[in-house]
Symmetry: C2
Subunit: 128 residues, 2 copies
């Protein structure tokens, strides 16, 4: 896998999330995917994403930084969103918040098999 290739696949994955095209997820996510060390599998991963979109109706993933070294991708995602109720244990309750997620992905045969994500909770707390 060439470097540009993997970055392009990742950008397509982000487009898939932003269009809520869940049936397409199988093209980007391995059936054995783990998230922060927890084996979710494709079904659990899709459920997590669908729940996120339910909790945050205006959820949109925007790539701020992208570092590609196959089979790894690191991405800094930027969110400007309005969670309906709580988020990460914080009472956001319909307020608009802005925060980053720094996240690493390991790909296996062009599909995401491991995700290590950290969300900037301190930044959200400063806005509440």
């Amino acid at each position: 896998m060439k470097k540009t290739g993997l970055a392009d696949i990742y950008r397509d994955y982000i487009r898939c999330l932003n269009s809520r095209d869940w049936p397409l997820l199988v093209r980007f996510v391995d059936h054995k995917v783990r998230h922060n060390g927890r084996r979710l599998g494709l079904t659990g991963y899709r459920e997590m994403l669908e729940q996120d979109c339910e909790d945050i109706p205006d959820l949109e993933f925007r790539i701020d930084l992208l570092v590609s070294e196959p089979p790894m991708i690191a991405s800094r995602l930027r969110f400007d969103v309005t969670p309906k109720a709580g988020f990460l244990g914080l009472a956001v309750n319909g307020r608009r918040i802005s925060f980053a997620e720094n996240v690493f992905y390991r790909f296996h045969e062009d599909k995401i098999i491991d995700v290590w994500s950290v969300i900037d909770k301190s930044a959200i707390e400063r806005q509440l």
Copy 2:
């Protein structure tokens, strides 16, 4: 800058931090360095690190994941440490905690000029 070269420079930077060799920092950090968008400069950056080591005497940086695409480096750092008092607004007070930091660096002429860091505060909260 070749990919291996930048990753090697980064590993030397981490060794510099772990050995508290502050005079050597100038070899790795640009005089105009910014941290999460805030212009610290080399002096402010060194002061931040020295303060971290004062607050967390057993602070050691360990690289879990390293993604290199010059001029960018993304690194997942792992910490098993014992902050003396508060940390990120949490009353840690001498308890041992384990957490990750997902961090991006932009290099300029082989020196760090931009840092975008997110610490896994939720993971720490779960341990308290």
